[in-house]
Structures are given as structure tokens and as C-alpha cells.
Symmetry: D2
Subunit: 485 residues, 4 copies
């Protein structure tokens, strides 16, 4: 079957022979048994299993009209508003599993690839081979249910160096050799989330300008398996705990980030999506409506996360015996307001969706950008609530082993809540701790703060999608109802 | 015709013999020639004329299936989602005229009356006469195109007094006599917006509890013409300017607020909608879905106002030569984000509308409350932008007469903009002054801050429309995926 | 005597024959009987009378060691920390009279002139005559107790034009002729606060660069009486009410702003403080420590205004019957926190004062800039509190004439407070209205927002007064306690 | 000598036989070699060594006039403003060592004890023995340079239970037996910071009311060594890293929090400071001016921390190549403004200090409360800056071992800054990570948010220290300058 299950997912990850470094050592054992990866792999395996659950298979997958095969629904290139709704229901189902904590849930990258695919035709203008490569790669991923990561952030120092010396000394990733059957690439990408727990990686740097067109060595995109000769993954330290009780989030959802280094890696010709012209990269993203398609997935994730925080903050208010205070009502209704915004923006993006030039339906972009513009501050506001409600209860938290020790009786006696056992009370604050104090939550906050760019980038994206002329004209018209001088 | 035009509206207002006080004197001359009222009356007359404009008559009015008569569309009790869309288009057309500055645009009160009408059937439980009165009054207003105001805020001191002494000394409005053909009412209402520029007034105090049920003298609702014996209107000072150039907003949109005093006023029996039981008032509002129907109108007004401010802030940024600065892009895209929120919330309220028990379609309440919860701070944020962009240009503003004086040449020379004449530049800052410095804008800000209640009231409204159980259950379920102790 | 009293102040203002335009007409009658000016003139006359009150004369004035004459203390060039404290006490006494609402209280301009005087010696490098002119002018103002305004903001369009054409077409104020006994100046200044209620005006444009040094025609400073040939004042509309009851603030404190136009005005040689070199202007301000001396006065004004708002917000909380609510306690203690900040910053500026190169004591600059950096947002936060507490009570306010009319009984009955008469209750909201809704308060808000420049200007002033090196070095040192690679 | 050095401090901690649990196990080995404690112990040992450094011994210690002995200066009960300045300089020296990250730096508890000591005389009213005990204990701590922690937060459930059943079932800490030579205490305290790295613990619960006066079993205070029979310490998980490079803050400053349980612990009579009457506890704190004396120390800590963040944010801005952008200037000058506030408030607290009834000098309380009211939001604002500046650079951080591994060359190449080595660049972000993402910083944020209570507690403290009458009277006086009705 084209849709894989959890075991297949796990086996493939374990089978890969990737060159991966963690805390100064290479990892030899299967990733699924390594404490920095096993929680996430287990969660993601369960997500792939959902594709095979009878009750929801229809919602998680689709049957191709062409070959009758059943594929993951996140690969579906939507042909109608109904398709968009189907896609959203599938994304909600997965988000109910990870509650919005997975930034690289498989549907994110599948959607990304699908969006590029819908614009593949434009590659023909440059080189028909590129179009063919991209389409075939999409079909390959869909039929093998490939788990993808992607890499695009370049080293900080590269942003300053590439103008100084175009070819030789720059550390910007570049094509250093072109051969008959492929190219040789050298360079590094800063932060590929989940890189190690995927089958392949899509490399798509933000195109940099060059004076060497049409042979700009910095302009390229390709996708390759993780275990090619010359590829190295270097991980940050893990934020994952091993006990579900102590670390309920990180023990399940910790997505490792890695630097990915290409040291003279040979990229086969059929995996190259474009070369030499930075304009193409921009067009693929904009004409493939990446920000709309991906934005639809991201907003679904935001909603799931907001609902999770709504539940948590409600529970905490009960636990702290302040459920009926005015301040609690104000907090909760503030979250409900955020939630209504987000849901309405998603609905609007679907209702106002329009077909692109090839008939693929694209969720309306404006409401989706509006959601992204706000979520970072919504999220921080909710974190502030968590911290206010929990106060000193976030600091002195015993662990699962403390409960089991000879000192456990003290804990059970002195840490109980008004109507809750110490075990239940502490489990709630443990969860809150992970969001508001611990490193998993710290990374999540930073991640949401910059998901689709900083304020300036987002503002400019919003600004450019609008025309202000009619609003200015309205003011002119209004003022000219009056006298003139 | 059932739809009136501007002249009919004006004539009726002028014909009324109301007892109205302004600055310590009673007003004798026709209101349409009084500087405190004429701008608003002219604007509203133009709005009524729109009902007769060929191009938009279909959108502004509807033909009754019952009697074939054509009525104002804001009276339409919606029977489908399409009806809600028709209602919204009508409200947009009027809002394009007043740009959201009229809080008591006729559609607001017409919608209020319509919402009560949809719940008229519940009055039968108490007294079939009430039901009949309310339905007939609705039909009367619809067929005569009556312009309504309403009164409901009681004196501050009344809120404290009514428990002390239920009947005698309290200053709370109350029924002091019941007669065969009507009742006698005594009391005052604090702030009836546009009371003097309407035909009639709907009096509907927030029901206060009493121990004297079912004869609670504080529980009642009725509607009467403005010129009954014993009614007195006392106006605040006017914020209206007379020159469109100097005061482009207040010269058109200044809605006078008035205290309305009932000094032993006899209310005819057929104009009474309920009596004696405070429960009825609450039910009329909640089962008539007042906050949903009115919220739909209010949100349409918010959107118009936001678009006006978007235009103004764009124009000002051009005028101040900062259109291309990053801070401008951030401001504008912040407004665009607000606008997308508001539009999506309105769309969601329509898409998710549902019929009430009698088959009237009700816009979904949650998105509408969400809009109200936010608009006050959105509005203030935009005012802050106006003030930041304008800086000292908001202070030294010459007037129309200065332009025309012998000093006019200096003004034309020294106050010109980079690409604009002094006349155009100053007209922009005049408009901004009215919003950000002058009393018209000051009242608007206060008005928006408390339109549907203060933060506590709004929060409680939002909180109560939701059930949090499923969100709490989600957290429980999540935590119980882990171990237990 | 060198210190004038209120009558002398008023008489001089009335005697001046200035060319002043208001609402398109020139004003002929004495300003002290004109409704746009009389309230302010009366207030300021009372302030000058304070100099002669036995009880505080010692605190309001000082006796010169040189000539034994008694002068206004705001002219005192401080020679010790004790002098700074004396200056502050005098400023507090005046501020208790105007509660911080006068931005151009006489001590502001007297302090400005004093600060320039302390740097007069640097003019000798350029032209000994300039030094002499400035010193003599300072002595003249001190001995005549001259009331000064100042002008420095140039037309908006001038900022863009002066580079295009240096001499001919620019509308920037400039020297257009140099004669043996003086110069001829042409140009306009945008916003001279209180210009019409002063004796003389100090003209000190921000120096613009020019390629024509040392004959930069845009670089100059001078002071002249208000009634020279060729000078024109154009006023904005007045925000002043005439009833103390209805408009308690504007009827006393409305400071008119005016454009001041110099149309080929001849400036006598002995009134010129420098010419032709923009560097001099900058040095006079920085070496005269203008921002420190003036900042000390401004901070004293901020404190008086904050205390007034503290009183008002406390009274309003009582009036609205919410004095004991948690939200009130939070509001009040927030204001107390602001007040402690401001007072401590002022204290620090005095305690850490240091002498300049000539032995004049200069209040420490850093705390004073810190105060200015914050006050705009402190002020707005307090306005927000006013609006929240007052809610709809700010809208429906009767006027003094309403109380006196036949409708007065209704007002007295229905507008009373819980423990206050309607007259007292409304007087409180009238005051609040002026701050939070009316145009006097609107201008004050805009004025405070930009008093010493916008955020960018203030930030840069703060940034440049500090050296960050030692703080960066601390981090380096901290990090190098660790290992190296 | 009465002042101990680092070795003595460490040896004493190691010698103690305390019953301490960490992650479900008791700790047997010396704490100074345990990874959860060794960093802090080393830092604190260095701080004690500072007392013996020739260059600063005079500033860190004082010579007693009574016995000629040299004591730690934080024990000094100040007799003059100069003493307060000496105390502050000592606190600054220690804070330069820990940069404000130690909430329980020894001077904090020494100051606490000193403040109680200054009010010891009031105990005589109740029982002369108590006064004697407190004075002797102060002298003992001073002469032995005892390192103290304190415990006062009771279990959450206790706050609800004590009213239900006064003596039997409540879990509130209480005296359960009174004997000739002491008392027996049972109960738990939630969060004693640094409890395990101190010699003794001061137990001083917030006094709860009881109907059993004068034998209220919940009212008591005492101090005991950490290793009495029946005492148990349960630690939270450690946030400490072992590498100074990877975790520059937590490897030095991680202060472990512990629950402290008293299971039928016998407290010797001479260590009891009061019993049975909750009024005494309140008086000791208020008449001992705890919030003033401790507030002076805390504010000094805030200033050190703010300076550290100023340095870090300046360095980061350089590193990210944005030092010259307007946004950077605004951020830095915002921090400078906070810093000026804090420093001026401290200065004011010293300048306006006054003697208590016994002649001990007390720093002025108002400026100190003002500092506490603001610091939580200042701190969060700075954290927000860290996160904004660092953006994705906070996520992908290699560790010290990665640098040393075979992958180190890649890291050195690709992670270098514009002008900095990868090692230096990453060390800066590692530090930022600890503050903005990791658990050490998460706890610090929560700690600062609630240091002296939540917003409501702080507001009430501020509110009660002021009298508003004179400010209200000012408004009355101002309004009565006008007419009356």
C-alpha cells in the first residue's frame, strides 16, 4: 500500500545509515531506541497507524482517480473547496494527536511538496527536465509515503560573505561542480527540524542574487535521501524527558533540530528541481502558493494548540480554586476570542479559496497571513497566563521517582490539591512546567515567535498582498464632499 | 410607500413638538436648522434617500411576500442565510455613507426591534396582549419607516437605591400607576443617543429584581412617540462644527446624546410589551437573539470604520513622507490583520448561522462576541497610530476662515506638503484632529470602549456561551496516556 | 522692582500692538478680555503675583549678590546643589498653581534662557559681540521679568526643500539680508505655544547644514519683541471654555499655539546671538546643558500633573463606588509607582548634579532623560484609567446653564451620586471630560507624546549619553571564566 | 575569625548529615561533589572568600565597636545613612559576583535576620525569653557566619483546611506538643530555596488566625540546624549543567529548591522566637521593617541583573550585526531607562532613610516597593528582547563536546559570526539560551514574577503605605475655585 504504517515508518528510520552526531559522538544504535528520538518516533508511528484505522481511513487518505491507489491525504492537490475541507479534517485528526506541538508533523512537508508540485509546469520554461523531476519526485513521495524534512536557513556568516567573494571563499551553500549525471554541492543548513527522523530531505535555500546568471551557483533546489556520502547531521542537545509523568510533552513531541552539512555531496540529476537562476525558486514558492497551502496546515496546528492551552488553563484555574474569579473569566474569554479569530480566519480561507491557473484550489491568503501575524503574541499571552496562574507551584515539583520513594508519603500528603490527589495535581503542573519553564516549552515559544519570519518579514508579506489605493480614494472622496480652497 | 425618503424623515422630526433643552434653553426652531442637529439630520436624510435610489433599491429594501409592500431591509426578519447576506449588504451600503461613525444608524434600532419581534411568541405565556402589542408595533414601525431611539441606562444613584426602598423614594424608573387603558411611568434614562432626531423611543430598562413579583414596578418595556405629555429631553453640549472643511466628521455625524425624563407619563396600553416580571425582559433579549442580530450590524459598522482608518492612515503616511519606512509597513499590516479578523468573524457568523425555534436565522454568536471583545482595543491602537504619525501637525491647524483671510497666503505657502497644497494637507490633519484630539473623536473612543459593556460584562458573555468541559477532558485524556500513581 | 506682578504682566500683554489672526480675523481688543486668552492670562497673572506674596517671596525670588536687586528665581543660574533645590521648590510652587497643565509656564522659558546664558562664553570664539548680546539679553529679561515664548519648528515642506535650492526658493526661515545694524529674516515657525501672551519671542531654529559656511543663511538665533514690523501671528481655534464649572481646565490653562511669520523682519544687531554657522547653535544647546536644565523643570511639571491625576482618579473611584475593588488598588498603586519613579529620578538628578566648566551646577542628565522617555506612556496609561473608570458617565454631562434652567431639578435629582450632589458629581466628570474627551485634553496628550521629541529622538539621546563598553566587557569577562575552544 | 571563608563554608555543608532526597534517592556523598549542588557551592565559596580579600575586606566586613571582632557586613544593623551606603556597597560587590542570579545570596538572609533583630525588643511584651532568644540567635549567626535559608510557604491544601478543623486533621504546620525544654512541630514547607546548601533554616510561616488564642498552634517562629531528627528535604530536579561553556549560568548559580518536612521535630526552647499569637509575627516583620531592609538588598540584585542583561543585549546586537539599527537603539535606551529608574529608586531609599524607634536606619519604603512593583515586567521585557534579537540562533546550538569532536571543524566553519569565532559566537547564544529557553532561565522568570508576592499583594502593599487624602483634597480645592450650584 502507498500509505505506510507506524512500523514501516520506524523500520525505515532505523535502517538508514546516516552520519549523525549527538553531544560529540556519532549515534550507532537504532534511533527508535535512543532517548533523544524514541518519544517522537513513537508518536509519529502512531500517527502513521491512524492512516490504517478503519474508522478514519476515509478521512486520512484518498483514493486516486488515476491508479486507484490509496494515498495520504496531505499529498492531495486540491481541485475544489471540498478538497480543502477534506485536507483540513485530515490535518485536524493528526493535530488532535500531537495537539499542535509538532511543527513538522508529516502533513506539513507533504503539503509543502504538493504546493511546489502544483507549480511544476513553470519549470518547463527553463528546462523540461526540471518539471519532470519535480513531478516524479512528488509521485514517488506520495506512493512511498516518504517522510520529508527540509533545509533552507543558511549560516549567519554566509549572509554577509557572498557578495564579497562570489565563488571561492563564501560559506554559502553552492554548486561547486556540474557533471553529466548530477551536481556536487557544498555547504551547510542551520536548522532542519526532525531531519534525523525523516527518510529524505528537501533542500531549498532562499535564492540569493548573483551576478553570474544564468549560472548562479547559489540558486538550486533538490531532494535526496538522508544517507548520501558526504552528508552529516549535528544535533542540538535533547530536551526530551523519558517519563511521561515528569515530561508529558517532551517525552512525546520533542522534535530534534539538526545542522545538515553537505560536504561535496553528489546530487543525482533526476533529483534536481532547478539550477542557476534564483528567479525560479521565488516563482515556485509564489506560484505554488506555498504560503497559502502551508498556512492552511499551520493555522490548523495553531487552533489545536490553542485548544490544548484553553483546556490546560481551565484545568489549572479549577485546581488553583480561582475558577469563579473575574480575572479567570477574563483570561478564558480572551483565549476564546483568540480561538474564534483563528477558526474564522481558517473558515474564511476555505470559503474564499480560488483556483489557480491550473485549477488547483488555493486557500485565501489574506486570512492566513493574518493568523500568522497574530499567533506569536497570542501564544505568548497564553504562556503568561500559565505563569500567573501557577505562580510558585511551578517551582517545587517532585518527580515520578519521588512518588515511588520512601519520601512518597510526604508528597502525597502535602502536595494534594483541594479535591485532587497529589499525583493528579502535580501532573498538571508538570505539564505546565514543560510549557512555561522547561526547555521544550522555551524552544516552542521561540519557534512560534519566528515560524514564518520575524515581524518585519510578516508585515511586508501582508502589506504586499493588499492594494491600499481604494482605501485612500475613499478618504479623498470623503474629504471632497466638503468645500475646497 | 412604506419606505420614507430624506425629506419625509426631516419633516417628521421638525414637526414633532418635543420638550428639549440645550444649554439651559428649550429649542423652538426646527431641529434641521439648529447647528447641533442639522449635520446629522442631513446625513441621515441622505441615507433614507438611498432607499429610493434605483441602482440600490433592491439591496436597500425588500418586497413583502404578504402584502407586496416594499419595506426597509433592516426590518427583515431573516428566514435563511441568504437573508442574512442581504441584510449585511444593506448595512454595508449605509455604513459606506457614514463610515461607521453612526452608532445609531437606523439599521441598528430596526434590527433591535426585529430581534425582539422574533421572540414575541414567548410573551403569550405571560399575556397574549403583550405579544400582540409587540408584533403590531413592529409592523407599524416597518410600514411607517419609523426612526427609533432607545433608552435603558438608569441613573447611577438608582442602582444603589432600589433595594433600600422598593417603591417610594427610589429614583429608579418605575410604574407608579396602572390604569385600565395604560400605565403611568416615572423616571429617567441617562443616555439616549439620537433621541431627538428620532420619531419614537423604545424604553427597555435592564430588569431589576424585586420582591414584589409578579408586580415588580421596575420591570417593563414600551415604545412611545417623543412628544408625549411629561417627556423631557436634556442634551449634552454639541461637538458639531459647522464647516465641513474644519470639522469633516462632526459636521456630518455628530449624534446628540440626551437624558430622557418621564415625569408621570401616561403610556397607552397597546404600546406596552411587558410588565411586572423581570424574567420576561431577559428572555426577550436572549430568545430574540439580540446580541447576535445587533452584533451582526455592529460588526459591519466596525469594519467600515476600520477601513476608513486604514485609508486615513495610509494617506497620512504618504503625506508625512514615511510610506516606505518599516514602521509604516508594520502599522498598515497590523490594521490589515485586524480587518481580516473582523471580516472573517462576520463571514463565520453568517456561514454558521442557524435557525431559531421559529425558523428565523440567527448569525452565530461566538464570532460576533469575539469581534466585540476586541474592537475597543483595535480602535485605540489605530488612534495611537494617528497620533504617532501626525505628531505636532495635529496641533497648529488653521481653519477655513483663515484660508480665506488676508493671512491666507502665508498659510498656503508655509503649510503646503511635499506634493500637496496646504488646503489638501490641512484637510487631512483636520480630519485626523477630529478623531485624535477633538471632542467628537473623544466621545467616539469612549463610545467604542463601552459599546456592548465593559470588559467584565463582555468576558462573562463570552465565557457563558462556551462549555469548557470538552477542553478539560482533552487534558485529562492526555495526562492519562501517561502512568498513574 | 525687577519682579513683576500680575497686573504689570497683563498690562504689558494688552499694550502690545501685535498683528494677530484668529478665525480669519485680526484681534483688536485687549487680549485679556478675549475669550481665547483671558483665562490663561488671569492664571498667569496670579502666578506672577505669587512672586510678591510675603509667605513665599523668599522661595519665588532671589536677591542678587551683585546689585542687591530681587529677581525671579527661575532666572537663577545655579552655583550649587542647594541652588538646584531652590529652583525646584520655586518650580513646584508654580506647578501647584497650574498642576502641570502649562507647558510654557514662565519658568520654562526663563530656564531655557538661563541655560543658554551659562554657555555664552563659547560665542566669544566666533564673535565677542554675540556673547555680549546674549548676556545682556539675559540680564534684560531678568531685570524686566520678560515673559518669553520661543519658536523653532520649521514648516514641514521646508525640511525637504532646503537642499534643492539653498537660497532662493526654499521656504525655510533664513537671513535674506545683512545690514550694518542688523539683519532681515524671512520665514515661518509652526507652533509657538503662548506666543501671543508673551512679551518677546526667542527664535532658535534647529540648525540646518549648508554648503555656504560660514555664511549659512539658515543658521541664526535672536530674540525680539512680538510687535516688530512684518511679524504675523496666526492662531489655531481656541479650546477654551468660559465657565469654570463646565471647563475647569481650559478656562484657566488653555495655552494658545500660533504660527509666527517673519515677513522681511528687521532684527536689530544687539539681539542676534549667532549667525552663519550651524555648529554654534548645537554647541549653545549642548554646552548650555539645555536638556538638563529644562528637563529639571519639565520633570517637576510631570510630577505635579501626576499628582493631580492621582487625586482625580482617587476621587473618581470613590464617586463610582469602586474604591475598595482590587482593580482600583492596582490602578492607584500603578500611579504611585510612576510617581515614585519620577520623584526619585528628580532627586537623583539633583544629588548627582555636577558643575560645568564655568562652575554652574547642572542636574544629572541620565535620570532626566529617563523621566522624559517614560512620561508619555505614563500619561496615556492614566488617561486610559480615567476613561475606564468613568465609562458612560463621561458622555451625558449637563452644563452650568442646565443646572440653572427650569430643567435643573431633574438634573439635581437624577444625576446625584451615592453620597454627592449632582453638582459635585458632574463637576468631577466635567474635569475628567476635559482630560479624556475634550480638545484641551486631546492637545495635552499630543503635547506630552512629543514634548522633547518622538521615541526615536529620545532613544538616540539616551543611547548617546551612555557608554556600553563596560557592560559588554562584563559579559566577556563572565564568559571567559569558562573554558575556551 | 567570625567571617568564614569558602573552604569553611563548604566543609560545614559537607559535614551536615541531612536527610535529603533527589530524584527518589537519598544523597549520601558530599554535596560539593554532587552535580546538582557543586556549581552553586563553588560560587558561594568564592563569595565567602571575598570577605578575606585584602582589597575589599573593609567593604565586605565591619569591626564591632563592642567586641572588636570583624563580622560580615550584611549582619550590620545600620545606625546611619552611611551604614546603609556601606551595606549597599557590600551587596553590590557580592552581586557583581553572581550578577543578580542568586535570589538567596547570603546577604539576603543575613539582612532578614538583622531586620527581625532590630525589632526584638517588642517580644519583651509577650515573653522576655523570646527577645533573648532572637538576640542571641542573631549574635550566634553573626559570630559563626551561619548560612541560613528560610521556610514560610505552606502546602496549597493547608490554606483551605485549617478552618475546617483547627487542630487535628489540618496539614498546616503546627505545634503539636509543648514541653518544658522545647516544642514539637509537625508540617511541611513548600519551597525553601538553597535549603540544602545552608547550615540552618529559619522557619517563619505567615501567621494564620485561630480561635485558640493565645495558644494558636499555627503561630510560631524558630531557627534550627538542618540535621535535626525528623527533618526531611525533598529536592526538585536540578537545572544545572556541568559545563561552564554549555551552561554558563546554571553551572554556577543553580539554587536548588526543596520541600522541607518537619515530622514531629523537637525544637529546643532557646531557638523559639515566639509562640501562640499570630499578631507577634506580623509585628516582627512590620516593626523590623523587613520589606525595607530586604527590599534594599533585592533592589541591588535587580540592578546587577539589569546591568548584566544590558551587557548581553548590547553584545548580541553587535553579534547579530544590528547595533546601528533604530530598533536596537530603542531597545538599549529602554533598558537604560529601567536602569535609571532602579538606581534612582535605590538612591532615594537611602537619601530619605529615617531612624526607627530604636535608632536603626531604615531605607525609605515607597521607592523600594515601587522597584518591586515594576521589576517583574522590566525583566520580562528584557527577556523578550533577547528572544527577538536571537531568533533562530537560539535553537540550533552545538555543545562543548561537539566542538571537540570530529565534527568540530564543520561547526567552527559554519557557525562563526561576522567578526567572531564560532566558539565565541556560540558561547553568547548559549548564555542567552539559558536565560530565554532553558529551565534555569524559566525558573528565574517565574521567581522574579512572584518574588515579593503577586500583583495583588504588591498593589495592596503600595496602596497602604500611602495616604490619598491630600491628593483628593487638592482636587476638591481645585474644583471649588469655580462656581457652585
Amino acid at each position: 500500500m502507498a500509505i505506510k504504517n507506524g512500523k514501516e515508518y520506524t523500520d525505515r528510520i532505523n535502517r538508514q545509515q546516516i552520519n549523525i552526531w549527538y553531544q560529540g559522538k556519532t549515534i550507532k544504535r537504532p534511533l527508535s531506541s535512543h532517548p533523544a528520538f524514541n518519544g517522537l518516533i513513537k508518536t509519529q508511528a502512531e500517527m502513521y497507524d491512524m492512516q490504517h484505522q478503519k474508522k478514519i481511513m476515509e478521512q486520512m487518505t484518498f483514493q486516486s482517480g488515476t491508479d486507484g491507489e490509496r494515498y495520504g491525504l496531505s499529498f492531495l492537490a486540491p481541485r475544489s473547496k471540498e478538497d480543502l475541507v477534506r485536507r483540513r479534517i485530515m490535518m485536524e485528526l493528526w493535530a488532535e494527536k500531537h495537539h499542535g506541538f509538532l511543527g513538522r508533523s508529516p502533513d506539513y512537508m507533504n503539503t509543502t511538496l504538493m504546493s511546489l508540485y502544483t507549480a511544476a509546469h513553470l519549470l518547463q520554461e527553463y528546462n523540461p527536465e526540471y518539471e519532470d523531476n519535480l513531478k516524479k519526485y512528488y509521485e514517488y513521495c506520495r506512493s512511498q509515503d516518504i517522510t520529508l524534512s527540509h533545509a533552507f536557513i543558511q549560516p549567519f556568516a554566509s549572509r554577509l560573505s557572498e557578495l564579497v567573494d562570489e565563488v571561492d571563499d563564501s560559506i554559502t551553500a553552492k554548486v561547486i561542480d556540474r557533471k553529466e549525471n548530477g551536481i556536487v554541492v557544498n555547504g551547510a543548513f542551520m536548522m532542519a527540524t526532525q531531519a534525523a527522523t525523516c527518510d529524505e530531505i528537501l533542500v531549498f535555500p532562499s535564492p540569493l542574487p548573483s551576478m553570474l546568471e544564468p549560472d548562479n551557483p547559489y540558486a538550486f533546489a533538490f531532494a535526496v535521501p538522508n544517507d548520501l556520502e558526504g552528508m552529516t547531521f549535528i544535533c542540538r542537545e535533547s530536551y526530551s524527558g523519558s517519563s511521561h509523568y515528569d515530561h508529558p510533552l517532551s517525552s512525546r513531541f520533542e522534535e530534534m533540530d539538526a545542522m545538515v552539512i553537505f560536504d561535496h555531496v553528489f546530487i543525482p540529476r533526476n533529483r534536481i528541481f532547478y539550477l542557476g537562476n534564483e528567479e525560479i525558486g521565488e516563482r515556485l514558492f509564489s506560484e505554488g502558493n506555498f504560503h497559502s497551502h502551508a498556512g492552511h496546515q499551520v493555522l490548523t496546528r495553531y487552533i489545536a494548540k490553542t485548544e490544548f492551552l484553553l483546556g490546560l488553563i481551565s484545568k489549572l484555574s479549577d485546581e488553583q480554586n480561582i475558577a469563579l474569579e473575574a480575572v479567570t473569566m477574563e483570561r478564558i474569554s480572551r483565549i476564546l476570542t483568540m480561538l474564534e479569530n483563528l477558526k474564522s480566519l481558517r473558515l474564511a480561507s476555505e470559503i474564499m479559496a480560488e483556483p489557480d491557473s491550473k485549477g488547483y484550489y488555493v486557500p485565501a491568503k489574506k486570512p492566513l497571513i493574518a493568523a500568522t501575524m497574530q499567533y506569536s503574541s497570542f501564544y505568548q499571552e497564553m504562556l503568561g497566563m500559565l505563569q500567573d496562574i501557577s505562580s510558585s507551584s511551578l517551582v517545587m515539583l517532585p518527580s515520578e521517582t519521588d512518588f515511588e520513594s520512601d519520601a512518597g508519603d510526604f508528597i502525597r500528603l502535602y502536595l494534594k490539591g483541594q479535591d485532587t490527589s497529589a499525583c493528579d495535581r502535580i501532573s498538571l503542573f508538570r505539564l505546565t512546567w514543560e510549557l512555561g519553564v522547561g526547555p521544550f516549552g522555551g524552544r516552542q515559544k521561540q519557534f512560534e515567535r519566528f515560524f514564518f519570519g520575524n515581524t518585519r518579514t510578516l508585515s511586508s508579506r501582508m502589506y504586499n498582498v493588499y492594494s491600499l489605493d481604494k482605501y485612500k480614494a475613499m478618504i479623498d472622496e470623503f474629504l471632497h464632499r466638503g468645500e475646497t480652497h
